[in-house]
Symmetry: none
C-alpha cells in the first residue's frame, strides 16, 4: 500500500507558563515521557519552538511506524459499525455552507464526498442562483437556495438541530452579503456546540475576524499554503517561518485558542496546539482544483464520528485530530488511486470515484 | 503508433529585404544551410514563395523523421514535472472566453480539455444565460456569468492577474455586445502580456479588426479552412492561393505581424512567419463539431508551459510553435483513438475521454 506516515507527539497539556516565552510549549504524554521531559526542560530555558519540535521528531522517528499503525487503529475505532438496527441519518447528517454565482462545483464535491465516506444525508446551503446547478450535479444532495436571502441565518438555523456537523466555505466566494450571513450561521453553530470544518473562503472570513472561531474547540480549519499564510498574518502579525511548517501549525493553532488546524501541503500537518500529527500517506503530485473539497466533506463526517466515539475510542487523543488525520489519509489515497489510473489527466471527479475502495483499503479491518 | 509528421524549417529570421518582393523570404538556420543558400538566392531573384517552400520541403523530406523525433522531444521538454513541491494552480490557471445564448458546449469542451491535459484550474467567462448550462456539464469548471454584462471587461480583469493563458472564442457567437466586450478583454490581456489563443468567432472578430492582435507575439490563431480564408481576405485583400497552403500560412502570419497561425486541415500547418511546421499525426476522417475546442483548450495549457519553459527548453525554436505542434498532435491522436473505438459515431466527448492516454502515449517518456 506504500503507506508512509509519521505521527509526532510533540507536546501536550497546552498550558503555557506565563514566565516562558510564548513559543515554548510544555511537552508531556504517557507514551512520550522522554520527549516530554526533554522538551519541557528546553522550553523552560531558551529553546525556540522549532527546536523543541525537531528534537521531538528525531526522538520519535524510530517509533514512526508504530505511531502510524496506532493512528490507523484509532481511525478504525471511530468508524461506526454498520448494523441493521440503525435508522437513516444516524451515521451522519452533514451540512455544507457554500455555493455562489461563480462556484458550484466545490459544494457538490464536499457534499458528495461526505455521502461516499458514509454520511446518510447531506444538505447544501447556497446562494439562490447556484442551487439548480448544484442540484443538477447529483440527485443525492439536498440543496437549499437560501444563503443570499435576507433571512439566511434563520433558514439555516431551522436545520441546525438535525445536523451533526457543518462544513463552511466550499465555493462560498467573497460576496459581502453571503459572508455576513455566514458570520451569523457560525455564531449559531457555536451556540449549539456543533462541530464545524472551515475551508476556502470560509477561511478568508476567519482571517478578517478570527474572534469568530477563537477557542471554539469543535472548529477545524483546513488551510492550504496561501490560506495558512493569510491566517498567520491576520492572527500573529509577524512573518511566518516557512522553514518550520510543523512549528507554524502548532503556533497558529495556539494563537487561535487551540482550535484544530490542518495545514495541507506536501505533507499535511495537523495540530490542536498541543500535538502535531503529520500525514504523508502516499498521494500524487497532481494538484487539480477540488481536492480540498473532498477533504473538507470527508472531515465533516469523520469529525462527527470521532466526537460520538469519544476519547476512550481514540485512546485519549483528541477526536478531532484523529478525524483530521483520517480524512487527510483518505484524500491522499483517493489521489494516489485515481492518479494510477488517469495520470496527469486526473480530476477531482476521478478521485471521488475512488472514495469507497480507498476507505475500505485503509480503514476496514 | 502510426505517426507521420514532417517538420519543415522553411526559413528564418523573418526580415524581408525592402528591395525584394514581399512574398520572397530569406531562408536560414544552422540545420538547413543548403536550403538557406538556395532559397535566398532564388528569393532574391524571382521565385514566388511557394517555390522556395517546395524546394525546402523536398530537400528536407529525408530529415522528416528526425525532425519529427526532435519535435516530440521539444514538447516533452516543456511538459512540467509533476512534483510534490507544487501548489494548486502552478501547472496552469486557464481562462476560456466564450459561451452565449446558442453555444454552450464549445467553452465546456475547451475548459475540460485544458484540465485533462494538466491544468489545475479553468475559468469560463460567458454570457449570463449560458452559465448554468456550462456549469451543469461539469463541476470541475469555474464559470463566471459576466460576458454580456455592462462591466464585463472589469469583471474579467479582476481575474487576469491570476490567469496564465486565455482562450478566446469557443462558443462566443457574433452578438455585438459580446464582441465589444471581448475587444476590451483582448486589449487588457495584451497589456498584461498574457498569452492568448484565438479560435472560432474570436477569429471573426479579428477579421473585422486585425489591429486587435497585430504583432502581439503571444497570440496564436487557430483557424479552420473557412476562418483562414476570411482572415486572408481581411488582411491581404487578395485571392488566396489554395494550392499552396504552407506558403499561405506563412504569409498570413507575416501579414499579421508574425503572430503564430495554426491552419487546421488535412494536415495542420503552423507558422510564426519564420518557420512552417507541419503536423500530420494520424487522426481520422471523422469531423464532428467540437474538436477545435479540444485543440484550443489544450493549446491554452501548452502555450503556458512552453513560455514558462522558455527557448532553452525548445532548443531555440519558438515556444509557441512547439506548443501548437504539441496540441495539434494530441488532438489528432485523441481523434484516432476515439475513432478506433467508435468509428463514425465518434463525438468530441469520446475524444476528450482519450486525452489522458493519448498525452501519456505521445509525451511521457
Amino acid at each position: 500500500m506504500g503507506v508512509r506516515c509519521v505521527a509526532i507527539r510533540a507536546c501536550g497539556g497546552g498550558k503555557i507558563d506565563p514566565g516562558v516565552p510564548r513559543m515554548a510549549v510544555h511537552a508531556c504524554g504517557a507514551a512520550a515521557a522522554v520527549v516530554a521531559l526533554l522538551s519541557a526542560a528546553i522550553a523552560l530555558q531558551w529553546s525556540p519552538l522549532h527546536a523543541v519540535l525537531q528534537r521531538a521528531l528525531s526522538l520519535h522517528t524510530a517509533h514512526a511506524t508504530k505511531d502510524m499503525e496506532n493512528l490507523f487503529q484509532l481511525v478504525r475505532n471511530i468508524v461506526p459499525a454498520l448494523t441493521s438496527k440503525k435508522h437513516k441519518g444516524q451515521d451522519g447528517r452533514i451540512g455544507i455552507v457554500g455555493g455562489c454565482q461563480e462556484y458550484t462545483g466545490a459544494p457538490y464535491f464536499a457534499g458528495i464526498s461526505a455521502l461516499k465516506v458514509g454520511a446518510d444525508l447531506t444538505h447544501v446551503f447556497c446562494a439562490r442562483e447556484a442551487a439548480p446547478v448544484i442540484k443538477s450535479y447529483s440527485p443525492e444532495l439536498i440543496v437549499h437556495p437560501v444563503l443570499d436571502s435576507s433571512n439566511a441565518v434563520e433558514e439555516v438555523e431551522k436545520w441546525l438541530p438535525r445536523l451533526h456537523a457543518l462544513v463552511v466555505g466550499p465555493g462560498l466566494g467573497r460576496d459581502e452579503l453571503l459572508l455576513n450571513n455566514v458570520r451569523g450561521i457560525l455564531e449559531s453553530t457555536k451556540a449549539r456546540d456543533i462541530p464545524v470544518v472551515i475551508d476556502a473562503d470560509g477561511l478568508w472570513l476567519v482571517a478578517q475576524q478570527p474572534a469568530l472561531i477563537h477557542s471554539y474547540h469543535k472548529a477545524i480549519l483546513t488551510p492550504n499554503h496561501v490560506e495558512f499564510s493569510r491566517l498567520w498574518e491576520a492572527v500573529l502579525s509577524s512573518p511566518m517561518d516557512s522553514k518550520d511548517l510543523r512549528g507554524s501549525t502548532l503556533k497558529l493553532s495556539q494563537a487561535l485558542g487551540n482550535i484544530t488546524v490542518v495545514q495541507k501541503g506536501e505533507q499535511d500537518l495537523i495540530s490542536n496546539g498541543q500535538q502535531v500529527l503529520v500525514c504523508n500517506q502516499e498521494g500524487s503530485s497532481r494538484r487539480c482544483g477540488g481536492q480540498g473539497d473532498l477533504l473538507s466533506g470527508s472531515l465533516g463526517v469523520m469529525v462527527h464520528w470521532a466526537l460520538r466515539a469519544g476519547p476512550e475510542k481514540t485512546n485519549g487523543s483528541s477526536p478531532l485530530l484523529v478525524a483530521a488525520w483520517g480524512a487527510c489519509t483518505l484524500t491522499r489515497e483517493c489521489n494516489r488511486q485515481a492518479f494510477q489510473k488517469y495520470g496527469r489527466s486526473t480530476t477531482t471527479t476521478d478521485m471521488i470515484t475512488e472514495v469507497g475502495t480507498a476507505f475500505s483499503r485503509l480503514f476496514t479491518t
